[in-house]
Symmetry: C3
Subunit: 206 residues, 3 copies
């Protein structure tokens, strides 16, 4: 069965590998964005938007290929769901960048670096996992590590909130910063949801 | 197969058409609410609550019919999920109206009109799609258009946030308004989740 | 079929009963936390964290048992999903406690008691339902009651919001309290999502 999966699913695996690589590119732009001087942010936001569109196109390519395929390597609804969850990752990173630009934030509080760092690690694990979808049972370590990263991201996020509320910022500033760091936390959650779909696929195959 | 679907599924399709029409009614009340003078809002909030209850009853009718049906036109869990996601749409619109009433908001910021307008378009597409569920493959255009509307709603929502934070409102006022426009954004998302379930059904059938 | 389910599924049912009991313990600590004098909160937060870890371990035990089981009492993905949704319940209660501790909140507004009270009722219904998963069709009353509790929790939550915004608190204080009561509301939603998975299982079996 695993023997026959490659030919029927090759195009899906290629597209998911492409989406994984696109997530890797997006998280890199995000990292540059939170470290860049304010005057460079508009450029980086535009690059993020371009990556978000590229991700959308790859997602639609998956769905179109699904509509045209008679045989699929996994259940149709799981392919569909995986594409959707991968799309969410970039959406949340793009939202963080877009809100930070709209709100004309001066500087990010310390702790955002740590958040973005964890997103980088999750992106790398995800990009490495996507080309191995043909053998989902081999992805247990990926799934466990993503869950651990999400737990760490949760901790970092809450510590960040306590910094935001330490009384040195006015309420409107806190609200704007909170919107951005909440989107980054949602991106960490989104990586976990991707891993959950991968695990569901592996569970069905086992 | 499509031939035999009609008789077994007729009651489901009737109920979903009814729920679609109820969503149409709800969005209309929402539109009146955001444009109405403050003294008329309580009445409109009550009408919205009544529509929300009617939606709940139709959702329960779907579930009860599901429990009693031996043969169903789609997978049981998809019928169940579709009913749930449709219910969410009205829940979020009702929440927006309820919060605006509780918070005794004076006026909605410009941009809320555009948000509600997009919800009206999504509601109309959804109401038109529901009676055609018997042939889910014909609903591709519906699904694509809902996704485009959600993207537009996202943009409108973010521009609205930047207006809220332009410094002319105090923080508590911003928080209240943000709660309401976030619920409207969640309603736009909820329309997309409905379309996603419809697409999953179509994907399984293809 | 129901005859043969017990032997194959016994370990799953034991684990879910254990998770249900753990949720019961967590909600009890939550109740003590919101009523405790500030100096006792750190201890209770630590106990909550321990219960959250115990829940994580039980969730992983379910997933490991799933990976090792050839025959399962329900669809693999539903067992996986149920474990995940049960985990969310304690996650949200732990988040509420963690945020209240981080933010060094003085006192909870009236209404939080009512929120926690509804969570207690939902926890009790859930703990009673878990050992009866072998016959999911008997759990209709559980599912209906959880939905009613969630509706009540929603009302209590919105009334609480209107209290928070009554103008007697400054904006930063409102934001902190809102974060906590929103996590409690998410816990109520999480109980509903558990019940939804149980209902999906029952729907498939019917």
């Amino acid at each position: 069965m695993r023997f026959s999966r490659k030919p029927t699913g090759r195009r899906f695996f290629e597209l998911f590998a492409e989406i994984g690589a696109n997530i890797g590119g997006s998280v890199e732009v995000l990292g540059q964005f939170v470290r860049a001087p304010v005057e460079q942010r508009a450029d980086l936001a535009q690059r993020m938007r371009a990556l978000e569109h590229a991700g959308d196109n790859a997602t639609h390519a998956v769905i179109e290929h699904l509509d045209r395929s008679f045989v699929t390597p996994f259940d149709r609804e799981d392919i569909y769901r995986l594409a959707g969850r991968l799309d969410d990752v970039v959406d949340h990173m793009d939202a963080a960048v877009d809100l930070a630009t709209l709100y004309q934030l001066d500087a990010f509080p310390p702790g955002v670096d740590a958040q973005v760092d964890l997103l980088c690690q999750a992106a790398q694990l995800t990009a490495e996992a996507m080309p191995r979808l043909a053998a989902p049972q081999t992805l247990t370590a990926y799934w466990v590590e993503i869950n651990e990263l999400e737990n760490k991201a949760d901790q970092v996020h809450r510590r960040l909130l306590s910094v935001l509320f330490d009384g040195r910022r006015d309420a409107l500033e806190v609200m704007k910063l909170k919107d951005v760091v909440d989107e980054l936390e949602s991106a960490a959650d989104a990586f976990e949801h991707v891993a959950d779909v991968v695990h569901t696929i592996a569970v069905k195959e086992s």
